[in-house]
Symmetry: C2
Subunit: 443 residues, 2 copies
């Protein structure tokens, strides 16, 4: 039983694509038939000898067989709801490697991941048993400035592909900085994820080296209500304000102007954000809600309504004071009315790592009222057409005045151009990642 | 919809307890009813305004509501199939903390985890929204030798509760060594797991400090066929030979003799095992199978039969040579006929971490035919009545001659006494973890 969720179909709300969507849509009788079938299929001898369990093919394998199309106008791993696990690989190109090598690498990664994301073993891989549970695997490839330098196309790179402006509250660490390439690997099965990462690295060992790996997680498949917004480890709903429909994604995420090779691509920003759980937990719930500007339980703006209603920064209480603190996270993040372009597609993951004395030393502030034992935060990933017009003004506002800054610190930052999607025959998008860019340079 | 899987019921095969078992057993009509209900329940205005998704309560929440009983004769997290995620916390007791403190800590942890594992917020926790997806959460508590010293019961500790004998192939690192306490936290939802770990640590900050955290994973819920043996990152099935029935667990895992406070407890061993993927992958499939002694695909012994059939070390090929290499992993691990007690309950998790120069330096061997880029291995956890009678002879045989030793290195080792299970009113097991031991010391 192979079931497919949609990467991108014009006119269809990608958010409607559910990690369990096929289940809700499946005729009930099918579920019943599957149960009956597997019960019959169990060899009686094995079931009764008591020496071992009987492998059966039942609903238990539902998640394993779910796939997200690799091919499409845009790369996968952007519009789809987050899978449970994510590894973001920051890679640097080895000295002396250039256009020819990168072309080979892109062809090779594309061919391998086109197979692996669909549950097929990459050619030449001896581990066919580790390819059988695609579980919504997606692999998204991005190019840093160094990629353009390596292929001799420095002048062709998008004008925004450079370090983001410095923000007041940044405490960036080199270890989470810009790299030449990024691979965002997301999957609902951590074993498949580990195998995909391993395969990507071993197949590219002659071309790139690993600068960093950022590992994150989100609620597991089957633990969130359909379409519900996940929560981060501060307990807040994280991702309420997000473009979801195809129209919104076209407006804010997919590049529609400029050179052909950029069209249907996007920009990926990866920021690493430490969250100081130790001092955050000193706040009572009311204070936490004031900081965020939203109700903790349902995510609704404190000005009223429900989660997806707009915040009303002007609504005042009986004393005439605004109900939503103007310095709250929600108030500061909100785009001004005359700047409707200030929208980004957030796709963050949590991290929760063992306590680390280096983190304690780097993150402790003189005014902290609790000692740090936590090593928790966000691998904050977002997508937009142009980071300088969309992410930058939002982050500038937040850095200048968000109450939440007392509990969070940006410690990593990198920007990537994400080339458009691919199709095997090149009828939609490129033949392989970056093909139209790379081939335009090969005269 | 709350669904329960069984921790331990006499006469019932705990292996039959499936992470999706309730689904297969659930009348089909219930699933259908749930779908219909949630579709009706969606507020029409919300569904049509196009501004946000409609949270619905459908099958998508199945995993969230699954629970494993906290109370029982034995602690949970031992007999049950592995959940997808595991954090093993190694904790040391702060100087000066003694019997009274440990009694308080055990009461507090027991009360909190009795609630959290069942989807209820621990008393005093302000993060009720992070407690709603128990997703088979289990928390298993173990005591190292230092715990017995701290409570003034050094002489009472089990005779086997001491460092394991040194094995020839060990390259133990202090950073993964013995601690006073261990908490094995397992869950199918990584967000719930992170919250449980956070809650355990913050509630014990005055009593213990973290020595290490070992984070591991296994196939996600819904990616393995019912009862199928999971695979490790070498691609082998890992856990074929495991006690599963209540009878086998009573024979090999649960302590049945000695002082009352030990009965229904067990011994937990935690070994950290580095697996050199870089050199392993140089082997072709046939060579890998020779090393293991089993078919890679179906896990059957090379001597014939199916996965759960015994290996036949004497079976010879036409030339008279044994089909299973006597130095293969399966042949060396097998208990001699006159030592039927040499059985352990394995419950290993994988780790796959970012490449690390320190690992490369420590793990590179002079005869390696590939440079190490991997940082992959097992958090090998196993349970048995007596490690010196069960684990030790097996590991001694493996250290002396297992072909697999060329690709694996044991880098961590710790042993814990796991006290019996608990029940709220003390009718089954202790009232709280270690109660009968701790109260016997309070005169």
């Amino acid at each position: 039983m192979s079931t497919t969720t949609t990467n991108e179909q014009p006119g269809q709300d990608p958010h409607g694509v559910s990690r369990r969507g096929f289940l809700a849509g499946m005729p009930v009788a099918v579920g019943g038939a599957a149960v009956a079938l597997s019960a019959q299929a169990a060899p009686a001898a094995r079931a009764e000898d008591g020496r071992g369990p009987t492998p059966q093919s039942t609903e238990s394998e539902q998640l394993a067989s779910q796939t997200i199309p690799f091919d499409g106008k845009n790369q996968a791993g952007i519009a789809e709801p987050e899978q449970a696990y994510m590894n973001l690989l920051g890679l640097n190109i080895k000295p002396g490697r250039g256009l020819k090598d990168m072309t080979f690498l892109m062809r090779s990664w594309t061919a391998d991941m086109r197979r692996l994301t669909q549950g097929k073993n990459p050619l030449g891989s001896l581990e066919k048993e580790l390819s059988t549970s695609p579980a919504n695997l997606t692999v998204t490839c991005g190019y840093g400035p160094g990629f353009f330098s390596a292929i001799g196309a420095e002048r062709a790179k998008p004008s925004w592909l450079k370090p983001l402006p410095a923000y007041k509250t940044d405490k960036l660490e080199e270890q989470w900085g810009q790299t030449d390439l990024a691979l965002q690997v997301c999957c609902d099965d951590p074993v498949t994820l580990a195998f995909a990462v391993r395969h990507l690295l071993r197949s590219s060992i002659d071309y790139v080296e690993v600068a960093w790996v950022q590992q994150g997680f989100m609620n597991a498949d089957g633990t969130l209500a359909e379409g519900a917004t996940p929560r981060n480890l501060f307990g807040q709903k994280d991702g309420t304000v997000n473009p979801r429909s195809s129209e919104e994604l076209n407006d804010h995420v997919w590049i529609t102007e400029g050179p052909e090779w950029q069209k249907n691509g996007t920009c990926m920003i990866a920021r690493r954000i430490f969250m100081n759980l130790d001092t955050w937990e000193l706040l009572d719930r009311t204070s936490r809600e004031v900081v965020i500007g939203r109700d903790l339980e349902n995510g609704a703006p404190l000005s009223g309504g429900e989660e997806f209603d707009d915040i009303d920064p002007k609504k005042a209480d009986r004393t005439g004071l605004p109900i939503i603190d103007p310095m709250s996270h929600a108030a500061r993040a909100k785009a001004p009315k005359d700047k409707p372009e200030q929208v980004i597609k957030r796709r963050p993951y949590q991290y929760s790592l063992p306590p680390d004395p280096k983190v304690v030393a780097a993150m402790t502030r003189p005014d902290d009222e609790a000692a740090i034992i936590s090593n928790v935060g966000l691998v904050f990933i977002c997508f937009q057409k142009d980071p300088l017009k969309q992410f930058d003004p939002i982050q500038k506002r937040l850095a200048e005045g968000d109450r939440l800054n007392q509990w969070i610190t940006h410690i990593g930052s990198a920007v990537y151009f994400v080339p458009p999607g691919v199709s095997k025959d090149g009828t939609e998008g490129d033949k392989y990642w970056g093909a139209s860019l790379l081939e335009s340079l090969q005269h």
